[in-house]
């Protein structure tokens, strides 16, 4: 699937999946550099069985590998 993304970009016809997210959801910005993903989302609801947490802005930093991605809400 990762290959699919880059096959599209080498053809210059990427699917703009991120932009579709931008339109539908609350993705403000995204970045991918040095194998690290950084997302900034707005107006997010974290829903668990009992709790509901709403935030205006959340920054997600996600790395590849054995360790799970770190989550740093602001």
């Amino acid at each position: 699937m990762a290959y699919q993304l880059y096959r599209n970009t080498t053809l210059g016809n990427s699917l703009q999946e991120s932009l579709d997210e931008l339109i539908q959801g609350s993705l403000n910005t995204y970045r991918f550099c040095d194998n690290v993903w950084t997302f900034v989302l707005n107006d997010v609801e974290f829903r668990e069985v009992t709790d509901l947490v709403k935030v205006d802005k959340v920054k997600i930093v996600a790395c590849d590998g054995k360790n799970t991605g770190s989550n740093a809400p602001e």
Partner: protein, 306 residues
């Protein structure tokens, strides 16, 4: 929609053209508007190549007339009216062969529109305008770029040098994606019009400029345009590939659409059973329109009747 203007409007100055009073006037005289009065016969030969050659001749004659009467006609303008369907490029499938003894045009100079109506008006204009879906363009920013800096500081950027040696950046308005290379060259995709593509490329250049690089905007060029439309009737692709073998390739087990490689203009069309058509390979909008007007009468000939 200017569906009635597929033929040049009857020039008022030629209500009684000097040569017109002579019966047996050769049809392709520049003084006579094309296709006036005499009943056109639909061409039986559906060979695309000869059709195209014929259309070229007809277009050339039409263009000659247009140039002579440019001032008095509504649509004297040739290419370049962006967003308008260039009526000049409508395929004139019907050849107007001179019928002996038929002189309606000479006797009705006061009702200029009447003689122009051909017997098969549907063949003059499809009335369908292909919509542009994607434009790919390139531009040179004219300076070397540090992609890592761009990826780290710009918003909405991706950079994975192990996979692909460019930064992939996106903007919302116009909704486009750019591939930015370290040489300073950039590819911009996803725009729906030429102006939008240029505007988007300028926005990306501005982003790069704001990051501190001496970005310029050199040699902007549109490389490819994709359009699509719907003829609104089902098509017999098998029949089409049989009669247009030299242009078509249809392998339903590989791909459900017929791939039609038109020679003039050099456009590739994907034609589907549903009647939807995709046109690609154009450098200018007019090529998309011209290709569709060329294919439409051919597709009508292969309409599914069941």
């Amino acid at each position: 929609m200017e569906q009635n203007n597929s033929l040049p409007p009857f020039p008022q100055g030629l209500a009684s053209p000097p040569g017109a009073m002579t019966p047996g006037l050769p049809l392709f005289s520049p003084m006579m508007p094309y296709g006036t009065g005499l009943t056109p016969q639909p061409v039986q030969n559906t060979n695309s190549l000869s059709l195209l050659e014929e259309q070229q001749r007809q277009q050339q004659q039409q263009q000659q007339q247009q140039q002579q009467q440019a001032a008095s006609q509504q649509q004297g303008g040739m290419v370049g009216a962006s967003g308008q369907t260039p009526q000049l490029y409508h395929s004139q499938v019907s050849t107007t062969t001179a019928l002996p003894g038929n002189t309606p045009v000479y006797t009705t100079p006061l009702t200029p529109m009447t003689p122009i109506t051909p017997a098969t008006p549907a063949s003059e204009s499809s009335g369908i305008v292909p919509q542009l879906q994607n434009i790919v363009s390139t531009v040179n920013l004219g300076c070397k770029l540090d992609l890592k800096t761009i990826a780290l500081r710009a918003r909405n950027a991706e950079y994975n040098p192990k996979r692909f040696a460019a930064v992939i950046m996106r903007i919302r308005e116009p909704r486009t994606t750019a591939l930015i290379f370290s040489s300073g060259k950039m590819v911009c995709t996803g725009a729906k019009s030429e102006e939008q593509s240029r505007l988007a490329a300028r926005k990306y250049a501005r982003v790069v400029q704001k990051l501190g690089f001496p970005a310029k905007f050199l040699d902007f060029k549109i490389q490819n345009m994709v359009g699509s439309c719907d003829v609104k009737f089902p098509i017999r692709l098998e029949g089409l590939v049989l009669t247009h073998q030299q242009f078509s390739s249809y392998e339903p087990e590989l791909f459900p659409g017929l791939i039609y490689r038109m020679i003039k203009p050099r456009i590739v069309l994907l034609i589907f059973v549903s009647g939807k058509v995709v046109l690609t390979g154009a450098k200018v909008r007019a090529e998309i329109y011209e290709a569709f007007e060329n294919i439409y009468p051919i597709l009508k000939g292969f309409r599914k009747t069941t």
